[in-house]
Symmetry: none
Subunit: 192 residues, 4 copies
DNA sequence: GATGAATGAGTGTTCATTCAT
DNA sequence: CATGAATGAACACTCATTCAT
């Protein structure tokens, strides 16, 4: 990639990062480009120099989540027992959501599925989890009333459910704790 | 209640009902008051005669859900075994969501919690479910690692999670089936 | 037509009329809706209450021209000798252009032909003129090297050419005189 | 002229030439400087190095027309009979308009007269034509009801009228043929 | 000379809300 | 009670132009 393009991308990321705190307080759609720009300390023109449409910012935001999972979560969970790994993944998710401001988590749970796909998030996530569930079934630890794929779907559904609920409650409770409590039930529900 | 007030309320309900089909196809926020009014066959002025703000319409919409639960669900589930009742409640929820148009279910799962409270939904729901969980614990069927209140919360969280996911997927899968599958896991997770 | 609709249309016309003086000084496309509205003494919202798009104003403007021709020109030229009638029509055209402000004439000569058709202008005009040329040929006064239709086209081409030129020169010369001079040549060119 | 200036001018012309194809498809005003620059393969900065304002490009474009007439048309028409030369000039004009893309011809006929003057187009053209008309009158071939200057004006008015009409019709008809037909009438109108 | 990031006033358009009739 | 004309701030987005590198 050329130096120029690289610089462009870096600037893009800078803007995205600068915008995140703002995203924390107001739903993305209710955020005007003007507000975004003053928050990021750039002009409207500059914004549109780096993003074609307002919604492109959102895609960029999602890409960051992907990056995070890719860099910080997956490597640490490559090995170990199945149930602790599933518990840990859920915890990492909760931590991420908690750390990266409320509204970013609203984003995670509010983006149209099609967009989610575009950002590649689903796939990397799904493949990773299917692997774990498959292993669990092979080791006789997890019910095989469901396929690894279906388990993955239901697991993500639980994760997203909590994320959504938490952000809908404007982060008024401890999401890590709630996630742990919920996962206890859920994992018990699939264990043999 | 005075005759006048009654008539007011009736007219309000008429407007709400007239608007529901429209809500089915477009997200509430993207619906202009003008559109709402032509759909309902009333003038903008009339709308503002019956509703103070556009968002009041939404509150009214939610109240209808409450009414539905009150009239059709609770009575049928007053008695019986605990787990089947919890399963049945979840099914009723799914059926309601499925029947009452996609977008209305989006509403259910998208309204700010504060509004939800206003509509009283939570309370009636919560009281009803806490009763069931309490009974289950007394009968030694359900774990007592959690209070009835917490179980209710986690249960509703699961319900809402599925509702949200389904509407986010634009109703592309069978919500009743998914709900059943998910509840199997969840109820197994809290059973002794 | 209902009283309501009538009133709507009247108001529309009022706005159009109020805007004409402004149109006189700046090309339509370079005129912002804001400017139009302050000129007409209405709010932007009102403008969009009466016109769906900015360009609808233009269509309305053209309709007025049509009306004018229909009401003032055609009736006076229903009968008489061919060449004087053609001369008179050109004069009326020039007078209209002159009286109705410079920019309105710019409009006449700047509208996309498709729009012109929409407004029906072409048709009524063309039918009227074809009749005259046909009569002239039957009376042996006009060359029949061209069909009435082609003569009409070339005649209108001449008219529009002058209109355009005059408005492009910002009305700096006497258009009636120029029209007369030009028509002398043109009509001599088609006479036998 | 200094070497530097010369190089500047050459670069200017290169840019203009590079832009012409683009001008062919979109009206000049709807063309952003950015688009122009990517089409020309230069940076915005460079553009503003060679042109003070966007509209200067247009002036340059017009100058090219002048050059063309100067180099290709006038020399070929220096001598010969008056009427054929007038016919030929009109044909050359039509051919030029036809060849040099629709939009360029729109330019020719849409530029503010003041700009036209600036480019000097009028003068060279006018002098040339006045000469021909004068000769025609002296030879007793052309009416002397009009001065050579007025004849020139009316002649150019005809030319421009057709050009404008053709480009307004987006080049949907054969301009050379139309020009010939029209000139037949017009020249017959001034002949003795 | 050349670059392209940065600017910000400006665009057409929408829409919740008010209020005179 | 009902109407719909009127409002104007707000919106996403554009673009000619400047200027530091």
């Amino acid at each position: 990639m050329s130096k120029v393009k690289e610089k462009q991308l870096r600037r893009r990321s800078e803007i995205i990062e600068a915008v995140i705190p703002l995203i924390g307080s107001v739903p993305f759609e209710q955020l005007s480009v003007n507000e975004i720009c003053s928050a990021a300390g750039i002009s409207v023109g500059s914004f549109y120099h780096y993003f074609e449409k307002k919604s492109d910012l959102l895609v960029g935001l999602l890409a960051l989540i992907d990056e995070y999972l890719e860099e910080n979560v997956y490597p640490a969970l490559r090995e170990g027992e199945v149930l602790p790994r599933l518990r840990a993944f859920a915890q990492e998710w909760a931590i991420y959501v908690e750390n990266h401001s409320l509204e970013r988590s609203k984003l995670i749970s509010s983006v149209e599925p099609s967009n989610t796909d575009l950002s590649g998030q689903k796939r990397s996530c799904v493949i990773f989890l299917e692997g774990i569930f498959g292993q669990g079934q092979r080791e006789g630890l997890i019910t095989d009333s469901y396929s690894p794929h279906e388990l993955t779907e239901l697991y993500l559904l639980a994760l997203r459910g909590i994320t959504t609920d938490w952000s809908r409650n404007n982060g008024r409770y401890n999401i890590r704790e709630k996630m742990a409590r919920y996962m206890d039930i859920w994992l018990r529900g699939i264990s043999l």
